[in-house]
Amino acid sequence: MNSLIIAGLLVLLLGLAYQTGWSKSRSLVTPDGIKVHSRPQYHGALVAIWTLVPALLIVGLWANFGDSATRAFTVSQIPPDVIMGLDEIALNATIQRIGALASGYGVVGEVQPFEQAAGAALRQFQFLSFLLVVAAAAGTGILALLYARSRITARLRARNAVERVMNLALLACSGVAILTTVGIVASLLTEALRFFTFINPLDFFFGTVWAPKFSSTGTGDAGQYGILPLLSGTLMVAAIAMAVAVPVGLMTAIYLSQYAPRSVRAVVKPIIEILAGIPTIVYGFFALVTVGPFLNKAGAMIGLDISATSALTAGVVMGIMIIPFISSLSDDILNQVPLALRDGAYGLGATQSETIRNVLLPAALPGIVGAFLLAVSRAIGETMIVVLAAGNSPVLRGSPFEPVSTITVSIVNQLTGDTDFAGPQSLVGFALGLTLFVMTLLLNIVALYIVRRFREQYE
């Protein structure tokens, strides 16, 4: 409620500031034509910025320190002899009771007189402090507004200043993404490091046995945490998925962008894109119920023993899931290749397939490689399909026909159920997550390298 009022006031102030700057700037223009450097909108915006920044600063300060000030005030309202008798937890409880009384909510149990008094005082304090913040924000805002207004002259370079502020704002926004990434990596890293205080990194990265024991077994033995079985499972499933998706996706893209008449394209492209919208859990179902048994029977016919839940099942279904990524991205990229290049090849007497193979695909290669790598990182990070269809068997095997487990599946297994994030059983999830992250990062770096090597310049 209070914050809504403050926001409303700020908006009002902002509008006022803009209007002030705008009209002052307008008034500078006289019939005899003084040349004003910036347009009125920029003057308005500059005054608004000048007004907003100090007001926001004050509100922001209160948002940060208001809580501790309130708390200090509340404590000061509790008689000293009462405080003496309270430990940390009881003190917090009392402070909460007083806060509840002040805001008018009831509290459980009998209300002590000192609580009643403190509640009333706190209520007053809150009201006054709110008024004070609003007044301070509005006051500084208006002072800043007046100052900014007084600076407006025909020669003031308001446009440049506003552009600079916009620049900073944009920078700050991209900073959010960067900071988030840094934060995630840092938390992954610290938790993973904690894991490595339990388990030797060598045993983790080069261990061939994955057999974590849950602490509830009570043996005190943490089990073995070799990542290799999971890694091989992950890579195998991703490789199978790419083996399915790359040819199908790329051919689809070539057909759509080069051969398909417009009417066919208009129907086929949306249908393929629907594939991308199917939730992965549904794909997992499909794998479990349809593809797994089918592969099993098909294998039996040619004398292969294919388990219904296996790397192959998961990989094939994941491949189908990825097809629209590859086909859609590649199609867009192929369409971006300048028509002039295509004409150049046709003009030399190249056939359609020669043109595609020798000119279009090489020109589109960087983008297509990018699409592939995006697809790979999706495959590596995909969870639901493998949880359902890969068989959850974290054993190092070479055959794609047998059940496997992947990094993502093991993270799910280790982090579901009762976890306290104190033992290696759950912390290993962070180490696995970090490994996944590094893998996708490396993929991206390789992708960039390839893209740069193959990039050709068009005007």
Partner: protein, 278 residues
């Protein structure tokens, strides 16, 4: 700077030595078009074009924007086949052979009739590969040294070899606009065509690069039949021996370049040349 100035001057001299009109009229006919019409979907872009194009001379198409010059040019090597909805009717013969005959192989036709486009469009490959591409797909070179020879001689004919001989393996897209256009000409020549079609080959180039290309066209005339579309009447006058004026999808007037520019018969041609339509 002096060198450049010299080059431009030389160019002007060399393009002034066009054939004399009677000489041109005696040339055998290479391309013969009769009643060519083109529709893009429901829209008609060309109305009954009939024209003869003489062997080993430069023929230029002029006319205001949108009048169908490019469309007609693209009929000659059947590039309109690649445009969805384009429909060509009428007769076009190359050496008496109907190029729209269903039995004729388009690939072979385009090897005989090369094309240079308005915007230089080198492939994203090396300079060498750009020129070698055509000969490769048509199997013109039996060995690597054959291919090398074709590439070098094509680059020479296009007047580019001296400038790029030390960097044949660098991407063709790294050249300047004028060099890229000459690379595209070399690429077209390498296939050994008889006819070269050029659609505003200089419109993306500066005056010096233009002068170099004009000079080149003049030299190529010795060995190739050239058809050039241009918006510059000076250019048409400088490089071509025969000129055809198009307006609103129709061929208004055609004839020896000198005649067209000095005493056009048709009123519309006159207006266009005087800069009154355009």
């Amino acid at each position: 700077m002096d060198m450049l100035a010299g080059k431009v001057k030389m160019t002007q001299q060399s393009v002034n030595n066009g054939m004399n009109p009677t000489d041109m009229l005696e040339r055998p006919i290479r391309l013969h078009a009769k009643d060519v019409t083109v529709h893009y979907g429901a829209k008609q872009a060309l109305f009954g074009i009939s024209i003869d194009i003489p062997d080993r001379a430069v023929t230029s198409f002029i006319g205001p924007s949108g009048c169908g010059k490019s469309t007609f040019l693209r009929c000659i090597n059947r590039m309109n086949d690649t445009i969805e909805g384009a429909k060509v009717r009428g007769l076009i013969e190359l050496d008496g052979e109907d190029i729209y005959d269903p039995a004729l192989d388009v690939v072979e036709l385009r090897a005989r009739i090369g094309m240079v486009f308005q915007k230089p469009n080198p492939f994203p490959k090396s300079i060498y590969e750009n020129v070698a591409y055509g000969p490769k797909i048509h199997g013109l070179a039996r060995s690597k040294s054959d291919l090398d020879e074709i590439v070098v001689s094509s680059l020479r004919k296009a007047g580019l070899f001296e400038e790029v001989k030390d960097r044949l393996n660098e991407p063709g897209t790294g050249l300047s606009g004028g060099q890229q256009q000459r690379l595209c000409i070399a690429r077209a020549i390498a296939v050994g065509p008889e006819v070269i079609l050029m659609d505003e080959p200089c419109s993306a180039l500066d005056p010096i690069a233009t002068a170099i290309i004009e000079e080149l066209i003049d030299e190529l005339r010795e060995n190739f039949t050239i058809v050039i579309v241009t918006h510059s009447m000076q250019q048409a006058a400088r490089v071509s021996q025969k000129t055809a004026f198009f307006h609103l999808g129709k061929l208004i007037e055609e004839g020896v370049t000198e005649d067209i520019f000095t005493n056009p018969v048709n009123k519309q041609t006159q207006d266009y040349i005087m800069g009154r339509i355009g």
